[in-house]
């Protein structure tokens, strides 16, 4: 396998224009003759399916939820970045590009990031035209806020429900195409395998989650917009159903998996309260604009907050990073929270939490001012914890939130399997080793509305694709494999539930391949994960049958994939002997505890190729070149 990023040359400002001009076009009359499968209906998948339908392709879109509107993009709270410079505060496409490359700790592809920054402005226009109710100023113009470490106000938002509103915009565009007859939706339908015919991705195998029926669908191109794999940690801010199965099974059919160890920990989540916990809830990062983060100066200080005087509080982010303060990027904020808790200064019953305090902001803006900005987040916090954040400071702790790793894609968003595209969080993406706040929505929609629809067309126009049918031997073989795996899971009849295995796997990864990692821990984790996987296949108990609505069976298949992915994550984390972004190796840090990159040896994308179960995967490297933004140590002091 060779990795060709197919990045255009020339001045960076002109690369996307040039690439578009060089693309082959599909004759408008021929578009409806092409079948395109889109798996996933979130911001990336939903917008891609809608746009491909608008262009006239024949689209089939699959999602495991009961409606495309449920995709987890819906839970994004804070906002979406765009280099509009409406606030006249010095923003530009170049600055958004620069911030994203730097924020990604110099592990992303410059050309892709520049394109993303360029397209960001079109996304806002598109969403406004769809009727997305963005926040407005009294004069009727769009409102902005600064977000997640940016020093300009470039984030557009719809209260604390930006993801919901953007997703509903894409969903409505998608449903419009359903009526137009260009898109057929398959809800409650999960992709379980990829079909490769003569080296090209030509179809998928699915399971109808209501009837359990295994079915084959053939197409000329396959698009995966299936999101990230944060649920490998069991507890994450992802939805319960979020999973890696589509991308993992594509990987097992030859698609390279890039940078699996690049996972993002979000600094502001509600702390874990007990063993029964099923997920972690994010409190939008926008809260850090006005909230101040602190812990007591003394260890194990159990006093209520109103009895801890200012002089005995440590506003550790403001102290360590005077210029960015509470707005340092996510990885920095998370690691610092872990550090103060490791020192024994964490708060709450478990000691795994820090305060996020709005007392000063309420003095400045009034309670109403705070309610206007964060009302729904405060309500959510109160619902979950039973504490009123208007009266006592919130407690927060980092949690797994986003995965920068994913299927390797070239500049055209195509994986190493011709005809298989990956978009949104499912690809290894434009965020390098760390994603900036409000950039996930931007990337998902950039890929879906404005990049993929062109690049898929170019692929179709430049390849001769013979028609394939779902009754071909390649499809039958994959169907049989999928059915065999299901039968095997149901026939183990062991003594442990799927959830108990998943929880144990998640704990292992969180402890050894989470916020900070070291060689010894990673190696022992890899071994333990292997043992646990073996036990899973001996001792899991999945009740019910294959041909019925069986939620335990759905979960069992996903967890089986998580086990294999977890091993690859550890392998990737072991091999990358440097610290960068979300990947913090304790052995590689500066004297004052910041991440220490090794550009000489690790300025590349690590793309892993499957070699068979039980075999070590092959590592391929895509070197990263920085012509415009020169690598420097990130400093937020």
């Amino acid at each position: 396998m060779e990795l060709h990023s197919k990045t255009p040359s020339g001045p960076i400002e002109q690369r996307w224009d040039r690439a578009r001009f060089e693309m082959k076009l599909v004759n408008p009359a021929n578009k409806r003759k092409y079948n395109i499968i889109v798996v996933g209906s979130g911001l990336a998948g939903g917008s891609a399916a809608a746009t491909l339908g608008e262009l006239g392709y024949n689209v089939q879109c699959f999602c495991f939820q009961d409606s495309p509107r449920r995709a987890h993009s819906i839970a994004a709270q804070g906002g979406i970045n765009a280099a509009k410079n409406y606030q006249n505060d010095g923003d530009s496409i170049y600055r958004l590009f620069y911030d994203t490359v730097k924020g990604g700790d110099f592990r992303s592809r410059e050309s892709n990031v520049y394109r993303l920054a360029q397209i960001s402005v079109n996304i806002i226009d598109q969403c406004v035209a769809q009727g997305v109710p963005f926040a407005r100023e009294y004069g009727g113009t769009l409102a902005n806020r600064s977000f997640g470490g940016a020093q300009v106000s470039r984030t557009f938002y719809a209260r604390g429900q930006t993801g919901q509103q953007l997703l509903l915009g894409a969903y409505q565009a998608l449903e419009r195409q359903v009526t137009a007859g260009t898109v057929k939706m398959f809800p409650r339908c999960e992709m379980l395998s990829l079909v490769v015919v003569e080296g090209k991705a030509r179809g998928i195998i699915t399971r109808d989650l209501i009837t359990g029926k295994i079915e084959s669908y053939a197409a000329d191109a396959i698009v995966l917009g299936t999101g990230g794999y944060g649920n490998v940690y069991y507890l994450s801010t992802n939805a319960r159903g979020s999973n890696c199965t589509a991308i993992w099974r594509a990987y097992k059919h030859g698609a390279a998996f890039a940078n699996p160890c690049f996972t993002q920990i979000h600094p502001t989540c509600i702390p874990v309260s007990g063993d029964y916990q099923s997920k972690l809830t994010l409190m939008s990062e926008s809260l850090r604009n006005d909230g101040r983060i602190w812990v007591p100066l003394k260890t194990r200080d159990q006093r209520p907050t109103d009895q801890i005087p200012e002089s005995e509080r440590d506003y550790y982010l403001e102290r360590r990073y005077p210029s960015f303060g509470n707005l340092v990027p996510r990885d920095v904020a998370s690691r610092n929270a872990k550090a103060v808790c490791d020192e024994g200064r964490g708060v709450g019953e478990t000691g795994l939490g820090v305060y996020l305090d709005f007392t000063d902001a309420m003095k400045r803006l009034g309670v109403e001012g705070i309610r206007e900005r964060y009302g729904n987040l405060f309500d959510m916090y109160e619902r979950i914890t039973g504490e009123d954040p208007y009266k006592v400071p919130m407690r927060i702790y980092p949690a797994i939130h986003y995965t920068m790793g994913g299927l390797w894609v070239d500049y055209q968003l195509m994986s190493t399997i011709p005809g298989l595209f990956a978009i949104g969080e499912a690809n290894f993406s434009d965020h390098g080793a760390n994603r900036l706040g409000a950039s996930a929505l931007m990337q998902g929609l950039a890929d879906g509305y404005f990049i993929l629809p062109y690049t898929v067309g170019s692929y179709l126009a430049s390849n001769k694709l013979e028609k394939v049918q779902p009754d071909y031997a390649e499809f039958k073989r994959e169907e049989a494999e999928v059915a065999a795996m299901i039968t095997r899971l149901l026939s183990i009849k062991g003594k442990r539930t799927v959830t108990s295995f998943h929880r144990e796997l998640g704990k292992l990864l969180w402890d050894y391949c989470g916020m900070s990692r070291n060689m010894q821990g990673l190696e022992s984790a890899a071994g333990k994960i292997r043992e646990l996987r073996e036990e899973y296949w001996r001792n899991v108990d999945v009740l019910g049958g294959a041909e019925e609505f069986n939620q335990a069976l759905e979960h069992a298949g996903r967890v089986a994939d998580f086990f294999e992915l977890a091993e690859l994550m550890c392998r990737d984390a072991i091999h990358r002997e440097e610290s960068c972004g979300g990947h913090f190796r304790e052995e590689y840090q500066t004297p004052d505890g910041e991440a220490l990159r090794d550009d000489e040896h690790y300025s590349y994308v690590a793309a892993w190729e499957f070699q068979g179960l039980g075999q070590a995967p092959a590592l391929y490297k895509e070197p990263l070149e920085f012509e415009y933004v020169h690598p420097s140590q990130r400093s937020y002091k």
Binding site: I74, G140, L142, Q161, R240, S278, G386
Partner: protein, 257 residues
């Protein structure tokens, strides 16, 4: 805490269902309602009993996938809250709770507490959108939207499509759901060109899905986890009436031949 649960069990759409009694022991007040059911399901699985099927996904009250009746109230006793965000501290030791799926002709039961809400997608597909293909939009600030209108649109757009309004309505009407989308798009300048057509088509689809009519009872508003106001239904009725008057015949003639 200990609770007695009576849960509706039904194997599939075509089977007869029945209430089955379970004891939930060791309920922690900090659990969410769904986490309490997760724990029950773990116990059932270890005993070899079929776990209770229920839908959920984001578990933070925004995806709209979860929802069932708790003692006859959609999403349970706390206002403005989905079941995933309802915590056990709202209940008392020894409480007896009856859990039932959304019941409506337009929401066939899939299994236990899970129902099919695809009728909602079809109502949106009938007209709940602005026809603006990707790439055709003017600059975002070209059309100014007064803040009050943007806020009003946002209030309605907050609907999560969970179906509680239908479940609570004695007529099983989806008027609040349909009205929320008509309101969201109808108050924004971007939604004006298709405003009449939208109301006609969505209301027609609502009827075709066999949802009942609205008789202004207001149960929907009371249980809506996003506290969408009944005013949305008034706006829907107004748009529908106006559209029926000024658009007589237009919707048919715009359709083709």
């Amino acid at each position: 805490m200990r609770l007695t649960l009576h849960i509706w069990r039904q194997k599939s759409a075509n089977d007869l269902g029945r209430m089955v009694q379970y004891e939930a022991r060791n309920v922690n007040p900090d659990m969410s309602f769904l986490e309490m059911l997760d724990v029950l399901n773990e116990e059932l699985t270890l005993r070899g009993d079929d776990p209770v099927a229920f839908d959920s996904d984001c578990r933070e009250g925004i995806c709209g996938m979860c929802g069932f009746m708790i003692n006859g109230v959609a999403h349970g006793p706390r206002r403005g809250t989905t079941v995933c965000q309802l915590h056990m501290r709202r209940f008392r030791d020894g409480d007896v709770l009856y859990l039932e799926p959304w019941r409506a002709r337009a929401f066939p039961i899939i299994k236990d507490l899970a129902v099919d809400r695809s009728a909602f997608d079809r109502i949106i597909a009938a007209g709940g959108f602005v026809s603006v293909p990707a790439g055709s939009a003017p600059d975002g600030n070209v059309i100014l939207v007064p803040k009050q209108k943007a806020d009003l649109a946002m209030d309605a757009a907050a609907c999560i499509g969970c179906g509680a309004c239908v479940a609570a309505c004695p007529n099983a009407s989806a008027s609040l759901f349909t009205g929320a989308k008509i309101t969201h798009l109808g108050v924004l300048p971007q939604g004006q060109p298709e405003r009449c057509e939208r109301a006609l088509r969505m209301v027609a689809q609502h009827a075709a899905e066999k949802f009942g009519s609205c008789t202004n009872i207001g149960e929907c508003e009371a249980v809506c986890p996003k506290q969408i106001s009944l005013e949305a239904i008034a706006r829907m009725n107004r748009d529908f009436l106006k559209a029926s008057w000024i658009n007589r015949g237009a919707s048919r003639s715009s359709g083709g031949e």
